[in-house]
């Protein structure tokens, strides 16, 4: 195993998962299980390539990706919050609609159902080699990574500060934990949920942009490869808290990077790829098991003493 390039490979695998996980985490704190991260990522990746292809400008492509993912998130917000659709079904519907619309555009506009490969595509900014050599361990890992990777790492403390150190974050958590209590405190809970979805859109947009723009510079319909769901698994495994979610993402990114290499050792990659999903199930089960054996303090709705 190549020990020199492994850290960089882990980071590369981790970044999209981390962004997807944070996207799912923000909505989870508003009590929304966001299964549409996958679709938002896909739309962002497609938009990035399509806009970059037309404009030849990396910044436009990047911005368009974020806007597109946010738009998708707000479609989900309207259909669930305004029209009362179920979050799971609507989220899965968004995924079908996203991949369906993209395929439709690929077939109809680009005449290439297999994907979108512009001949030239603008590069985004990557950290130059040696720029961070003064930082031990992390420095060399980050060198050569895109600025989106940097944003992803900054998003961990940022989401922590947002959730636990701002009034809006407190309102969002209150909305997720006890909607009636939040409403009675004058919080507009629907707006909080729409905001959570919007932030989720931004983060999923970053994830999609990273997938399409970091190195590949092309779009494939199966490009997101379930990373939205791995991110969801990471969030659930990390119990919806930023640091634990990030740690779980790193772990899953490590599995991914190692999985690629383990094939050389005849260990089937499928079992490695399975780990995030198994970890989510086992993690949740373990958390519930501990809660049920510990005899927790009475739930707040319990009126009997």
């Amino acid at each position: 195993m190549d020990l020199v390039t492994l850290p960089a490979a882990v980071l590369e695998q981790t970044v999209p998962i981390l962004l997807a996980a944070l996207a799912a985490m923000i909505t989870l704190r508003a009590n929304i299980l966001n299964v549409a991260v996958e679709g938002m990522m896909l739309v962002a990746a497609f938009t990035a390539i399509a806009v970059g292809d037309v404009t030849g400008n990396a910044l436009y492509a990047f911005a368009a990706a974020l806007v597109a993912a946010c738009l998708v998130s707000q479609i989900l917000a309207v259909i669930t919050l305004r029209f009362g659709a179920d979050f799971i079904v609507a989220g899965l519907g968004i995924n079908i609609l996203a991949s369906g619309s993209i395929l439709f555009l690929l077939e109809r506009v680009y005449n290439s159902p297999g994907g979108l490969r512009p001949i030239t595509f603008p590069d985004i900014w990557h950290l130059p080699a040696g720029a961070l050599s003064f930082v031990p361990v992390l420095g060399p890992m980050l060198e050569g990574q895109s600025f989106i990777a940097l944003l992803a790492i900054l998003a961990i403390p940022a989401s922590f500060v947002f959730l636990y150190r701002t009034p809006t974050g407190a309102n969002l958590r209150a909305t997720g934990e006890d909607e009636a209590a939040a409403r009675s405190a004058g919080i507009r809970t629907d707006r909080m949920k729409a905001l959570a979805l919007l932030l989720s859109g931004v983060l999923a947009g970053l994830a999609g942009a990273q997938l399409a723009m970091d190195r590949l510079h092309f779009f494939l319909p199966e490009m997101s490869a379930g990373r939205g769901f791995i991110g969801l698994a990471a969030t659930l495994f990390g119990a919806g808290t930023p640091w634990m979610t990030a740690a779980a993402s790193l772990m899953f990114g490590f599995f991914g990077a190692v999985g690629d290499r383990l094939q050389a050792f005849a260990l089937p990659s499928q079992f490695v790829l399975m780990l995030p999903y198994l970890a989510a199930v086992v993690g949740l089960t373990f958390a519930r098991w501990r809660a049920s054996t510990k005899g927790r303090p009475a739930a707040i709705t319990e009126t009997k003493v």
Binding site: F83, L92, L97, L103, E107, T285
Partner: protein, 341 residues
């Protein structure tokens, strides 16, 4: 008579969402196609133009119907089973393994064995989230969703490493012995007789759910668990049983697909049948017979799209787009209806 009216209501309810989707789709087709009417005629009617087309249509509808009927059981027991896809894959894989492992057995022994292990594998995959939900209140949406990926990856491992037909290209298993192939529907060559199984099971499911004490107990547990306990229903057990049935039906769909249509396991044999079946079940207002009808409608659209693409310049992915639209429109309606209670 009352049961018929009840059924009519269940079937009629989702027609609005379907009509609206078809209308929006038509607007879309009209804006891009030269011959929108021809496109839509192909979409809706090409399935019946030849026996061959009709057989393909039946083959498409069968797994959808079987999984959706299974999901009806889960929903009626209050379990949101998103795991149809994983249960389907495991069922298909189990049947394949059994058929390839004991090719020497006579068909009348091996075929039931294949079907049985398919049901058992799917049922097992429904049992896990059910037990976790009942005993530890682990959210079943998450577990069924995550277990899908586990099942997909596991079957992918088996088909790539152990069962792979090395004479062809791609992740495809060896072909099953012909002794276990299901016959076609008499008079319709290549149409899987598994469809007849689905029809029988739809009726049976309706009887089970609405005409047996077991069914009323499942539904009591699904609508109000504490009420169910109070009136003497072993509620936890009923929920688990319903989920085993649900997973078993998806497993059966997988097994019958392999035995009747595919005759071997292909890694990507399902175009998200599990997920589409989930929406079929919801669209059918969680009613087994209406689920069968809705599955037929979906299959009609899915296959019709291919004919539409051949006959006109409308891409077949229009159907994926319409499916997504339909799911969104349908759930929006669903909630508004249930909030009236």
């Amino acid at each position: 008579m009352k049961a018929f009216r009840q059924l009519l209501r269940a079937v009629a309810a989702p027609l609005g969402a379907i009509a609206l989707t078809l209308f929006l789709g038509f607007l879309l087709v009209a804006s891009i196609a030269d011959e929108p009417v021809l496109a839509y005629r192909e979409l809706l009617f090409a399935n019946f133009q030849s026996l061959g087309n009709f057989a393909l249509f039946i083959n498409r509808a069968t797994p959808l119907a079987l999984i959706a009927i299974g999901i009806v059981f889960a929903f009626r027991a209050g379990v949101f089973n998103v795991g149809g896809e994983g249960q389907l894959y495991l069922g298909a894989m189990a049947a394949t393994v059994m058929g390839l492992a004991l090719p020497g057995l006579p068909g009348f022994v091996l075929l039931p064995l294949c079907v049985f292990v398919g049901i058992a594998a799917g049922g097992f995959w429904g049992y896990i989230p059910a037990v976790l939900k009942v005993k530890l209140q682990v959210d079943e949406v998450v577990t069924t969703l995550m277990l899908n990926f586990v099942a997909l990856l596991f079957t992918s491992y088996l088909v790539n490493h152990l069962l792979r037909d090395t004479t062809t290209y791609g992740a495809i298993s060896w072909t099953l012995p012909e002794s276990v192939w299901l016959p076609s529907i008499p008079g319709v060559p290549n149409a899987t007789s598994a469809f007849l199984v689905a029809v029988v099971l739809a009726v049976l499911a309706w009887v089970l759910l609405f005409r047996t004490v077991w069914g009323s107990e499942v539904r009591a547990a699904g609508t109000n668990l504490r009420f169910a306990e109070t009136v003497g229903v072993p509620a936890a057990r009923r929920v688990i049983e319903a989920m085993i049935v649900s997973g078993g039906m998806a497993g059966l769909a997988g097994a019958l697909y392999v035995l009747g249509t595919g005759h071997r396991f292909e890694q990507n044999f399902s175009p998200a049948y599990g997920l589409v079946a989930l929406t079929v079940a919801l669209l059918a207002r969680v009613h087994p017979i209406s689920a069968l009808v809705t599955a037929l409608f979906y299959a009609l659209m899915l296959n019709g799209a291919a004919y539409m693409q051949i006959a006109t310049d409308v891409p077949r992915s229009l159907v994926a787009l319409l499916t997504g639209l339909l799911v969104l429109l349908m759930t929006a309606r669903l909630r508004r209806q249930s909030s009236r209670h």
